[in-house]
Symmetry: C2
Subunit: 436 residues, 2 copies
């Protein structure tokens, strides 16, 4: 078998054998297949697709390309949670301590996201002292000790994904369901959880825009997980407008802490409770009133315990002013009265990124303090002259530069309904459209 | 504009602007666009195609990527001839001296082909002393002096084609009409002729198998040439069975010399006369009885003059035994009687290659003496035990190893018709199916 044979088969629309896919992943990882052959193959996959069986094989081969975690020394059924990425999506910061407070072990590895704002690791690093670089032994030991750890994926995990992702980014082959699904799920499988709950974002602020596309991706992700023997459930959730109100790293941690205290935005709380309940079900844990854990402080205490265990300043949970804050707060005012009909998540994200909240290259620095906080969301009434949002910026000039962009992201109409947040629940059994 | 933008447009099936195509060719040539982006783009072109306008722009940009010949110092209208490549195709060795003998200037640059047997340059190098490495000044001066020169393309011509071709070969993107057409025509345009006659081979021994595919390629080639202001005519000719009888470098030179003496196989002679007549018409030369030039020795004398001018042993035209010859001649016998219904050109070519007549890598050495000579062609009667072909090999073992393959390439039936050779003539005005 040669790389040319495998490229030709996929070029001609044939389904590849397990051996052929494993050959490509192995050759991509060890460098024996050059980049130019991998990228021709990736383009052929992008244009001709993959069967469920091919996608599963690709995912397993990628997961096996590097270190795979063995979480068996942690008692109980481990459930992982992953979001495909959205604007203002700090749900992991709420869900992880919440379900840990309910007694199920949370061993969560994250990557550093590219894009409009940072990933979970960047957000956590806005807490003074927080260390995301744990050894695998430290990581597992911490979960055994306090029931929760959130750390960066180690560099020896899923090396095939790093090779493929860098090439996809440079060759317009990112938006392919089998390639996205294998990238997401290979990391989840290598991270060793017994079950996985996925949040597939859908809309302007996500990389899939329509419900049909999002459900197709969700089905692919669930199919891979199920075929690999891990119970997997995916929710398709709305990402037309940002999740919650805060967009920007420290601003999102602040909002996560408020939500863990029972005072968060209703959409973020609703999403977190639904994901948390699903994780408890998958862990076969006793039914728990998760909202009570927000109100009685146990979820917040678990978060403080996590921060302390990872060398962070746990007092931030009681004193939000210990988080880094931007020096300038600049309001963005409504020019007309009515009800908010849309808040374009992508435009808000790009505004936050232009303030310094996001990055295009993995090694670029980001400003953890800056971002945008929404005061109005879809369905809210607004008066002309009232603040729609606040820009948190380093300078007045930087804030002024994004004001009109943020304002233009809001559409105000005579009347508008709030958006539905939870759109579908996808399991191995099929797709269930949700009413909330 | 970035390479990713151009890849994405072609991935999504959009026609690229002239600027976008020129950007890719320039970046591929100067190395500013990395191989992995070029190969993703090539795969997108392979799968989504190109319009005639895109193909023309690609061709002109490739031709302009390096040195372009100026033949204006050679008097008269220069007509180039090119074959897309087939088994036993030594027609250039016949046509070039033939039309030069009729008084039209032949300034022919060739490449070194990969594949089953050598290219025109390899064949000429089987003549002792023949030098294909002329400087451009030497090349043009020789055409002015004796009316003919055949030399290797210089390394500074069409560098974009070298980059693309190496990648296409490694990424299963060779068989794309716009990529083949731009590769062929960029070299023809850079070589500076005023008009071009093309021989598009069709069948088992060519890289296009069907008449429809061959006509599509011929139309693309003619469209590019015409749009670039060079009169271009293409013939689609049969390549189900080898052309003539000899397959292998020195063996083919021998057959070319026999044909130039009026004693060649009828198919090779017919093809050469038709191509020659077309070239004379395109050169606006007086009507000439080309067959007479074979019979009266003028074509052969012109070939001898060419050999002499390029440091070769011109006495080979009178003494064929001065050509390198394989030590072993091993007959391949017919097992049944009847008429030959097919001689699989690809199988004959692979047999010749396994004797050492061809190469897979440009720098590989080939054995100029070895090959296969057919004694029977489609339509010929054969008796069981009669020789179908002779293997010319270095050793008895090598010959024995290909005997059954050569025998199996022949199909013998109760009755069979000779194959038609000249299938279509394609001009800017359209496709004309031929009866011969």
């Amino acid at each position: 078998m040669t790389a040319i044979d495998v490229i030709r088969d996929k070029r001609d629309g044939r389904a590849l054998s397990d051996e052929a896919i494993e050959f490509i992943v192995r050759g991509g990882t060890d460098g024996s297949i050059p980049d130019y052959q991998l990228s021709a193959w990736l383009m052929a996959v992008r244009l001709n697709g993959m069967t469920d069986q091919e996608t599963k094989t690709l995912t397993l081969a990628m997961a096996a390309s590097g270190r795979q975690l063995d979480l068996s020394s942690i008692p109980g059924r481990k459930v992982d949670k992953h979001s495909t990425g959205g604007v203002g999506d700090k749900a992991t910061l709420v869900v992880a301590p919440l379900v840990a407070a309910a007694g199920i072990p949370v061993a969560k590895l994250s990557g550093r996201a590219l894009g409009h704002s940072g990933g979970t690791l960047d957000k956590l690093e806005s807490i003074p002292g927080f260390n995301v670089d744990l050894s695998i032994d430290q990581f597992i030991d911490q979960v055994r000790r306090i029931g929760i750890a959130i750390a960066g994926q180690t560099s020896d995990m899923v090396p095939a994904d790093k090779v493929f992702y860098a090439l996809r980014d440079a060759t317009a082959t990112v938006d392919s369901v089998p390639l996205i699904a294998s990238s997401v799920m290979s990391k989840k499988l290598a991270a060793g959880a017994d079950a996985i709950v996925l949040d597939v974002k859908c809309g302007r602020g996500a990389f899939v825009a329509t419900l049909d596309e999002a459900e197709a991706l969700a089905r692919a992700l669930v199919a891979i997980g199920s075929k690999a023997g891990r119970e997997t459930v995916a929710y398709v959730t709305d990402m037309e407008q940002p999740l919650g109100r805060a967009v920007g790293n420290a601003l999102e941690v602040r909002e996560a802490i408020e939500t863990l205290s029972g005072h968060g935005p209703s959409d973020l709380e609703a999403l977190s409770l639904r994901m948390g309940a699903e994780m408890l079900r998958m862990a076969a844990a006793p039914t728990t009133n998760l909202r009570q854990l927000l109100l009685d402080g146990s979820a917040l205490r678990k978060f403080a315990q996590l921060i302390g265990a990872q060398s962070g300043d746990a007092s931030v949970v009681d004193d939000l002013d210990r988080l880094p804050a931007a020096t300038v707060q600049h309001p963005v005012l409504a020019r007309e009265s009515g009800q908010v009909a849309a808040v374009d998540a992508l435009e808000i994200a790009l505004a936050a990124k232009s303030l310094g909240a996001g990055r295009d290259r993995k090694d670029a620095a980001i400003d953890l303090s800056v971002g945008v906080v929404l005061h109005k969301k879809v369905g809210d009434r607004v008066q002309a002259g009232e603040a729609l949002a606040t820009a948190h910026a380093r300078t007045e000039e930087a804030a002024a530069q994004i004001t009109s962009r943020v304002a233009a992201a809001f559409s105000v109409a005579a009347s508008a309904q709030p958006r539905r947040l939870l759109l579908s629940r996808v399991t191995a059994a099929g797709v269930e459209r949700l009413d909330t």
